[in-house]
Amino acid sequence: MAEAGFVRVDERLLHGQVLVAWAAALRPRRIVLASEEVAADASQRAIFESLPTDDYEIAVTTIAEAAAALRAGERVLVVVASPADALRLVECGAGIGAINLGGLRGAGKRRLTNAIFLGVEDLPALRALLERGIALEARELPGSRGLVVDAATLDRLES
């Protein structure tokens, strides 16, 4: 990790790619699912916190709590469900310089890569992140080819 923390947008939340491949590449101390919805739902929360882990802990937190961990320089892999949640994380003062786009799908969205499909509702948050100087990269796995997402990329998707 160039920075101590790493942030990934993935609507599948905590799944094999994150818990196995990214965890092996980044060796975080904690993997944090930052979601107001899951943090407020005791049974969903229990499911994620009961997953078996190897060398890291799993935590479900609010977005503000995850931002605080990132700001504190904790070696943490934070997963959020959507570009809007990623923007909220930054607005809460996460102090990060880059965000990984890992998995977004959904009917009627436009294809960016095989793993990333963006809808019009995703674009304002992504533009706001770029305007704040945050680098966006679409990359499904640590070893897969990354695609830099900039304003021109978003313009092309929108047109």
Binding site: E11, L14, H15, L19, L51, T53
Partner: protein
């Protein structure tokens, strides 16, 4: 007879069922679900309908990774079905044993046996 559902990444469930049927024969009441191209909610819906199709004498759901979308989806379904058990880290010895013994053991006894069989089947063998 206890029912079985294999929920895995990619084509693994299909291949495991095929291999188990080759060795042990009967693969009825052994349903498969792949997470390929499914959203978390779609995967939960697939597991739910597989559980609904299963028999009345309890069901064991097998997944590959413990920490993955398959296990997470199964845990969500488990909450509403007291007669369903989840076993992670499926391997062929475990699955073959399931096929051979699911007619004569009740659900929890079978789960206990499969955990033991699956784990004890992992060994290092050395030639002479």
């Amino acid at each position: 007879m206890v029912s079985g559902i294999i929920v895995t990444h990619g084509k693994l469930a299909d291949a495991l069922r095929d291999a188990a049927a080759n060795i042990a024969g009967d693969a009825t009441h052994l349903d498969i679900v792949s997470n390929d191209d499914l959203s978390p909610d779609e995967l939960v819906a697939r597991v739910r309908s597989a559980v609904a199709r299963a028999g009345e004498h309890g069901t064991i759901v097998f997944t590959d990774l413990g920490g993955g979308s398959c296990a997470t989806a199964c845990l969500r379904v488990l909450r509403d079905h007291p007669n369903v058990r989840l076993v992670t880290g499926i391997n062929l010895p475990m699955l073959v044993d399931f096929v051979l013994r699911r007619g004569d053991l009740e659900l929890d006894a079978l789960v206990a046996r499969l955990l033991q069989r699956g784990q004890s089947s992992i060994q290092e063998l050395r030639g002479a």
